[in-house]
Structures are given as structure tokens and as C-alpha cells.
Symmetry: C2
Subunit: 293 residues, 2 copies
Amino acid sequence: MQLLDGKLIATQIKREIATEVTKNMIDKSIRAPHLAAVLVGDDPASHSYIAGKERACREVGFLSSVYRYPVTISESKLLEVVDFLNKDPEIDGYIIQLPLPKHLNSQKVIERINPQKDIDGFHPVNVGKMVLNLPAFLPATPLGIVTLLDRYNIETEGKHCVVLGRSNIVGTPLSILLSRKTKRGNSTVTLCHSFTQNIAKIAREADILVVAMGKPESVTADMVKKDAVVIDVGIHRLPSFESKTGFILKGDLKFDEVSKKCSYVTPVPGGVGPMTIASLLINTLKAAAKEVK
Amino acid sequence: MQLLDGKLIATQIKREIATEVTKNMIDKSIRAPHLAAVLVGDDPASHSYIAGKERACREVGFLSSVYRYPVTISESKLLEVVDFLNKDPEIDGYIIQLPLPKHLNSQKVIERINPQKDIDGFHPVNVGKMVLNLPAFLPATPLGIVTLLDRYNIETEGKHCVVLGRSNIVGTPLSILLSRKTKRGNSTVTLCHSFTQNIAKIAREADILVVAMGKPESVTADMVKKDAVVIDVGIHRLPSFESKTGFILKGDLKFDEVSKKCSYVTPVPGGVGPMTIASLLINTLKAAAKEVK
């Protein structure tokens, strides 16, 4: 078994981006790509994600801004912020950190984003273009997973991929990406979810198994074909007496048993997570280059 | 084995729509829904499809218009036509008959359509909204298939659906529709295509098998599970000595042998085809009611 080291690959990607920014922009007196984030309220997890994104921007030489608003912001005010960011030529791409407080209609806010600046790839027009295999911003986690497979030269063409979980931000778009007629697509994809029967049997058919169900340690070795490639999207903070911090991070896999049976597997942490942030940087670079129209 | 009689169901749907148009519109002096079509060049198949659409409009009391242009029309002129149709309040929805001549960029033309009038459901924003399970125009053939299953009370929830063929207008959107969290979704879906290995083995797993490969009589009984529901999207005009016209219509199934093994099957002709036109009428009704924003 070999680890799919997302942390390592993300570091490589960040180094490549940093070189590109220095050579093609800073050295030529062109402004570096600028990623902005809109953060509403004070959810600690959201604050921590935003801090991670700011750190990643610094590492590659991107400009970054965070627009912070109180939990009480009105929808009309937030839509004004979106309009402002859409127009500002100094900002190449931006994200609205989700979840938003309940009085705000997230979908309405997302649909107001200029699709050319939608580096999260959440706007329906970007989702549609992904389906139609047109240039688009791809959602960060699915893009990160496909990139990780690519960097490890794991063939997807003609392989059977089984995706467990059909969320709008991971399972569904990944199932689409893997089946497109592209270099790292051309897989036969089965998308499973809470209504799927015989999920273990279907999972055992997978050459590449992607687990994004959000249930800690729920995928066991008997659900995995020998020598399969296994991608774990879950990340859960579980209480633990063995750790000084009092908690431990676990994925959706029973890692100890699955890792003995498969050919490649992502660890948690250090697998898919770092690739998600790297993908956001890739998308920001694309936005700055005006590659998605 | 029971036939899924698309012709019968389409006739029922048209009768329902006609009643709705009479009661809710004509009798209240409200203009009937108006479907327009843009037809470029003189491809006989395209002319015949458009004639079918006009006939269906007459049957339900819709207004219909066809904008005909010579094969030499420039892209800028065609885009002007699209802009005109987008603005005209007398037209609720319209289609651009495909394929367009090669000097015209179909994708550019499609993306110019106002998504609120895009009754073919081909605009990326409608495709994206379908993925995200938001109100959208659904592409006519996938919508027709789901409607046909619905009218025959065929349960999809928890069933394994295998879709053979990943085209942008049938296989791919249908695979998405069947897996959404909706009344006639919630299936476990496997999408197969030209790179799929062991296609017969995968097809045999299907509770519901949808064949949209475009290869005449290529799916044989050994590829079908006993008592499966089988939907045949193919339609091919094959030469035949047995027919007075000199040709015969066949689908992607070897119908004689498959029909003996399955529980339900669509005939060709008279299965999926009439449902596609009925779906276009359903979409036009939605467009007139401004249900998709």
C-alpha cells in the first residue's frame, strides 16, 4: 500500500504556483493574483478555514483580502458586497464562506457571483459547464482529488469508480468529472447515497473508491476490493484519551484495516484536505489569467 | 412483459395540457403558450422534427412559430435572432434546431439563449441547476423517460439504474436526474460509455437499464437481468425488404429477445420518441407560467 500524500503534492503545487507568480507576474511588474473571501458571523470552523486560505495565499505570493461582516448583515447588504466584488478589477476571484446564517439565502447569493470570479465553482453556470466539458471553474475538492490521482499517475480511463455520497460540493461533481471524456476522466462511475442498497457489494466492485459520506470510520475492509485505490474525503474530530489535545482526526475509513487491503489510500489528515486548498489556488490563477469566460 | 407505451402516455399528457390551455388561458382570455423554433438550412431530418413540434403545438392549442434561415446565415445574424427572441414577450420559449451548419458555433448560440426561455434545457445554467436540484428546464428526452417511468408507477428509489451512453442531451443528464433526491430519483446510477469495460456485466446488474448508445440492435438478452425495466432511446432507419417503404425503424435493443426477459420495455417507434415531444410541451407550459427564473 502506498499513501496518496496530499500534503506533499499540495506543497509541490504551491511551489509551482509561487514560481509562476514570481516569474510571470512579479518579475514583469504584473499584479499577483488576488483572492478575496467573504466571511459572515463568527463560526470558529469558518474562521479557521479562512485563516488557512490566507496562509496558502501568502505561501504562493497571492494577494488576499477577507471581507468580514457581522452575523446580522442583511441579504441586500450582502448582495451589494457581491456586486462590489464582481466589479472590482483588483480582485480576480472570491469565495463566500459557507454556511451563511439562516436568514440569508445562500443560493441567491451564490447565483449573484460573477461566474468568471467564482473560484469555488458553485455557480450553476460553472456546474453546467463542467457537465458539458466546457472551460469552467471546477469545485475545489473534486478538482483536488482528480489532481491527486493525476500526480500519482493513477489511470482512470476504463476503470470503475464508485463514489459514496452525492453532496453538491463533493460526491455529485466528482462523479461527473470522473466520467467526462478527459485525460483523467473516462471512468465508469457509480454514484451511491443514502438510498443505495447493497452499498458494500457495489463498493467492492470499485477500482477507485471515493468515500464522502461524512460518517466516521464507516467503510471497512470488507467493502473494498483488493488493490483498489481508496480516497477518503471525510474528516471528523473525535474525542480521544490517547491524544494530548483530547481529540483525534479520523476519516470515513477504518484506516487500519482498509489500508492493508488497497493499493493506494489517502491519509486523514494530510490527504484530500490540503488538495482542496491547492485547488482553490489553481482556480485563482485561472481567474487571474481570464481562462474561464 | 409490459410495453411502456410512450405514444399513449404522450397522448394523455397532450390531452391534459390542452385542457389546461383551454380552461386556464383561452377561457380567461390569456394568450396560449407560444413555442418558437429556429431552423437553419435544409437538413431533411431537422425539417421533419420541426414539423412534428408544430403539429404537437397545434394539438394542445399552443401558438408556434418557425424562424427559417438559409444555411449561409452568419453567426452574428443568428445571434441577433436569438437576442430578438429573448426580448419578445410574445414568445415564451424557443429551441434552436441542432445540428447547426459547421461555420456556426452552436455552443456560443446556445449560451446566448435566455435561460428562462431555454425549453430544450441546453443552456449551462439549466444543466447546472438540474445538478443542484433547483428549478430548471430539464432536457426533453431525460424528462420524457422519467415521466414515462412515473406514469407507469415504476419505483426508482433505491433501484440500480445503468445508463449506457454519456451524450450531453440524453445519457449524462439522465444519469444525473435519476440520482437526484427527488420523487423519481434516488436511484443508484452507473453511467457507462465507450471506455467502459465489462459493459454486459454492468448492464446485467441494472434494475432499470437505459440504452442510449446509438448502435442499432446492440443490446442483447444476455446483457439484461430478468425482470429489468428497459428503456430504448435509439432510433435507426434500417433498410428492409419486408417493409413497403423499403426501411424499418429499430432501436438499440434486440427487441425480440430482450422483451421476453424484461418486465417493462419501450417499443421503437412509439416509446421514448413521443415522450420527448411531450416534454418540450411541458417545458413550454412551464416557461409560459414563468416557473423557471
